[in-house]
């Protein structure tokens, strides 16, 4: 990841770290529960949560696994997540590492579980990150990626890309389900299941977690209100007196695994097969 963009990410998420830790729309949700249902965490699992943000995924999984390593590119975010988890008291199996998802600082095969939630749309090189995920996963390891789904209608997709960038300039690109399938396949991970989950965002909280000032929030509000009807229908935009109250987007949950080690069963070469003896004894 080039350092200029990395600094932009740090600036963006550093200033809004508290909002991310406190955000109710991140701390719970159907996506976390579905990820747990598919991943079937156990106390033998060593888990990595990449781009942990406010630490909500790490905190949610911590009672179900042996250990969670939570990594993020932004130190302020990690510190706030660390403070938040310390306040919870009971949690003593989460550790934090400042790391780049595209250059992970872990030996090959370190983790049996890997999660990455609502983050890949900020990665400049998702295939590279996926290769790293594959590398640090143990054979047979399980992985869940959750990210915002790119709408398939080009006009709705354009609106989506523009409004995400207006809200947070470090948004690079969300992907369609087909694009994800191809990237997962190319990284030699095995796609097991995908799931689309609707997520409703409180508009005010959503602009607040991005640290938008009033003028920028109003600009975004206008962009939503002026959008064509099909955009309103797709995102189920709810408004009152010209003010957007909420909208609903779709998250894609990708459940994939790393291939199990192939079992080599020793077979005697055919030439060693016993021949019928013709000799008389």
């Amino acid at each position: 990841m080039d350092s200029k963009f990395k600094n932009q990410i740090r600036e963006q998420f550093g200033k809004t770290a508290v909002a991310y830790v406190e955000a109710t729309h991140f701390s719970g949700g159907e996506d976390l529960e579905e990820a747990a249902r598919l991943l079937k965490p156990s106390h033998d699992d060593n888990m990595l949560d990449v781009a942990c943000g406010g630490g909500h995924m790490a905190l949610f999984f911590s009672p179900m696994v042996r250990q969670v390593v939570a990594s993020d590119l932004t130190m302020q975010m990690l510190k706030k997540a660390q403070e938040h988890i310390a306040e919870e008291g009971r949690v003593d199996n989460v550790v934090f590492r400042e790391a780049d998802a595209e250059d992970l600082p872990f030996p090959a095969g370190s983790f049996t579980l890997l999660t990455c939630r609502i983050a890949p749309h900020h990665f400049p090189d998702v295939p590279r990150a996926l290769r790293e995920f594959h590398r640090v996963l143990r054979r047979g390891g399980r992985m869940a990626i959750i990210d915002t789904l790119m709408p398939s209608d080009p006009e709705i997709a354009d609106f989506f890309q523009t409004m995400e960038k207006m809200r947070n300039p470090t948004h690079i690109k969300a992907f369609s389900e087909e694009e994800w399938q191809e990237m997962i396949h190319d990284s030699e991970l095995i796609l097991q299941e995908t799931l689309v989950i609707s997520k409703t965002h409180d508009f005010q909280e959503w602009t607040k977690t991005a640290g938008l000032n009033r003028a920028k929030a109003q600009e975004l509000n206008k962009f939503f209100m002026d959008a064509p009807q099909k955009v309103h229908d797709y995102f189920k935009i709810e408004s009152f007196a010209g003010e957007v109250e909420s909208y609903t987007d779709k998250k894609l949950l990708i459940y994939a695994t790393r291939k199990e080690k192939e079992k080599h069963i020793y077979q005697k070469p055919a030439t060693e097969a016993p021949k019928e003896s013709t000799e008389e004894t």
Partner: protein, 61 residues
Amino acid sequence: MSLKPELLDILACPKCKQSVELDEDRKSIHCSNCYLRFPVRDGIPVMLIDEAECSRVAEGN
């Protein structure tokens, strides 16, 4: 939160992916392969290639 030495087992150099070692003062972690030194801030290792200090002394100095 202190940095437990046993957690270094699941830490590697982000550049060469080889094992890293904790410095005696526990304030940094180094990779003896890449000559990179990674700071530890508030108990959190900063494992970023461009934040690391290169500790290699150029030949002839």
